[in-house]
């Protein structure tokens, strides 16, 4: 009986065990699952041109970060290049998870190749570590039908008429109908620093981290942050114009279902909202009266894996995927993300394709990226910082006192930053 079972198991192993993984000489490229389709043809072309084989390994967003951490801790040398979330560039650089790209880009005018803000995002300690693949931006969506029913004017997509948070709140109060499950407003990336950084920045509170990236003392409890977090508290607990108990990833579905008046979110939602058949418009991102217009930005970069012993080949791949205008144009077209490459940005500006929806939304996003975007806090402790700040926003949304919550967050982050000082 046992012998028979073992024989079956052995046969099954023989049939199903892949031998390729260990024998392959391909350079591994760790990417997000969303990038596989648009990047695969270009990776194949890279192999054709250079003779360097590339194996794409793809992961969902959070799992990609986790995989990078595990492989980094194990000092795995079988990876060539990795996707790097822009705010993690300092963290990865300090911890040796990526190698500098500077020597492979010597003599190049980086700001001619990529938008200046994305060059900053990919740099740390005065040099380029991970060139940008694409960028992101935030805009204001509105449900025309709900606004009309509440006799509210459409918000403006012109700078002179940019709506303030104060105006938006007053309008949202008129739209909210809790019996019908209609909400005045909602954020796309609810309770996430990526999107909510715009609030304290607009109120003059800064990014939350000191210039050297190693302290938050007094930075999360200053007047700007207090104004912003009190505003966030009021949205859910005083004015009751935004829903609790709903996670990022679900808020866009709520807007698509016609249940939300204003949706502050990424430009990437346009196609989904069109498919849902909702009558919506797009406008410039709100700001605090007397403050400055600020929007979240940055996206994915590509870096040479810190433990690879094939850095030169990996650098060729990174350059090919990030600095080629052809790749940038095609990636923008297929993936629908805001480009970082200047050639693709210029194309959005001049191509008639971008005059009509859904692509017209990209023009508004490009404007915000160029005029109101601020990079996320630059700190090697970004992973710890982001997790604590995200949880704090969520606590405030659930009724926590903003001053207490942010005070505690400041202490915890300050303590977490010790290891980087």
């Amino acid at each position: 009986m046992i012998r028979k079972s073992l024989s079956i198991a052995t046969l099954a192993f023989a049939a199903m065990s892949p031998a390729h993984a260990q024998e392959s000489d391909d350079l591994s490229l760790l990417v997000g699952i969303w990038a596989v389709e648009p990047l695969t043809p270009w990776v194949e072309q890279f192999t054709e041109e250079t003779g360097i084989g590339v194996e794409i390994q793809s992961f969902p967003f959070r799992d990609l970060l986790q995989t990078i951490e595990v492989r980094g801790s194990a000092k795995a040398d079988d990876v060539g290049a990795i996707f790097v979330d822009a705010p993690l560039v300092p963290s990865y650089a300090v911890r040796g998870l990526i190698q500098p790209m500077a020597k492979y880009l010597e003599g190049a005018d980086l700001e001619e190749i990529w938008a200046p803000a994305t060059v900053d995002a990919g740099s740390w300690d005065g040099m380029m570590w991970a060139p940008p693949l694409n960028n992101s931006s935030q805009v204001l969506y509105y449900n025309r039908e709900l606004l009309r029913a509440a006799e509210i004017q459409d918000p403006s997509s012109e700078e002179s008429g940019r709506i303030t948070w104060e105006e938006l709140v007053e309008n949202a109060k008129k739209i909210t109908d809790s019996e019908q499950g209609i909400w005045g407003m909602v954020f796309d990336q609810i309770s996430r620093y990526y999107q909510l950084q715009a609030l304290p920045e607009s109120a003059g509170g800064g990014s939350g981290v000191s210039d050297d990236g190693l302290s938050v003392e007094g930075m999360l409890t200053n007047d700007g942050w207090m104004k912003a977090t009190q505003f966030y508290y009021d949205l859910f607990n005083t004015w009751n114009i935004a829903p609790k108990g709903i996670a990022p990833g679900q808020t866009a579905e709520l807007f698509a279902a016609g249940k939300v008046g204003y949706f502050v979110g990424g430009h990437w939602n346009v196609s989904a909202f069109q498919e849902a058949g909702i009558d919506f418009g797009m406008a410039l991102h709100p700001y605090f009266e007397g403050g400055t217009p600020v929007t979240g930005t940055n996206s994915w970069h590509i870096g040479i894996w810190g433990h690879t012993n094939r850095a030169d080949e990996a650098a060729q791949l990174v350059k090919f995927l990030t600095a080629s205008p052809e790749v940038a144009l095609d990636y923008t077209e297929k993936h629908g993300q805001l480009p970082a490459h200047t050639a693709a940005l210029l194309n959005i500006d001049i191509s008639p394709k971008y005059n009509n929806m859904p692509k017209a939304g990209m023009k508004l996003a490009t404007y915000e990226a160029a005029n109101s975007a601020v990079t996320r806090a630059r700190t090697p402790a970004f992973l710890e910082f982001e997790e604590i700040v995200n949880n704090s926003f969520e606590d405030i949304r659930n009724g926590g006192d903003p001053a207490t919550v942010m005070g505690e967050a400041e202490q915890r982050i300050q303590s977490a930053m010790r290891r980087y000082r």
Binding site: P60, G181, G249, Q250, A256, K259
Partner: protein
Amino acid sequence: MTGWWSKSWPVMAWYATVAVGLIFTIAPFMWAVAGSFKDNPQIFSEVSPFSLMAFVPGTDPSAYFAIFQNNFGRAVANTVFVSVISLAAGIIVNSLAGFAFARFAFPGDRILFAFVLLTFAVPPEAIAIPLFSMMRQIGWFDSFWALIIPGIANGLVIFLYRQFFAGIPKELIEAARVDGLSWWHIYWTICMPLAKPVTIGAGLLLFVFQWESFLWPLIAAPSPELHLIQVALARFATEFSVIWNQQFAASTIAGVLPLIFIFLFQRQFVSALTGVDLK
């Protein structure tokens, strides 16, 4: 009437409590099953404001077709394969270890058994990095070996077998030895048939452990042809959003198979874990 009520109200109250608990337990699963037959905006329009329609399945099966076009069938087959092999190998390895701990005295046996018990307390995440390095060194990274071998030895299962085997009367074993049976025969022909309820409980534990594992398969076997079901489930999220109806459809499938096993062997499973009704 008063007499009936005074006798029955504790039972009724207990049933009511259980019913409420049951609703809270089942409602998310029912919502997911119902949502797997709807499009994404409909799923969320029925929860804001909340409507009981959220629990009524839609009529659109397209999410189920879509997931199988996205390699989900392969992930299901892989998971069945890995779980079944782990179950078979795990029962043999762990029962032999339990038998050894129960029947043989050797230097350091208590310390060794204490180490086995300690493994209960070590979360898989804690050993993921050294295990990952080991898999790469021995050439098992990105293969079924990496998925199966680390899941075979299980401290809880060894403990269950050891406790059961230790409870078998010594006289029975000694009589078998006097009759000339080898230790292997005693283990295989006397102890294992007696341990059927433990084997069923242990089998379920080993099966569900592999069925539910996520982090280890994610890092140990990244190739799409080796994806297991939980890894495949996570892939129904795009960069900024989740394809809810597809994720619900995949979750429904992922939940149904272990449920069938648990319903079929519920009594033995509970007995194995509580030690009740084994003798």
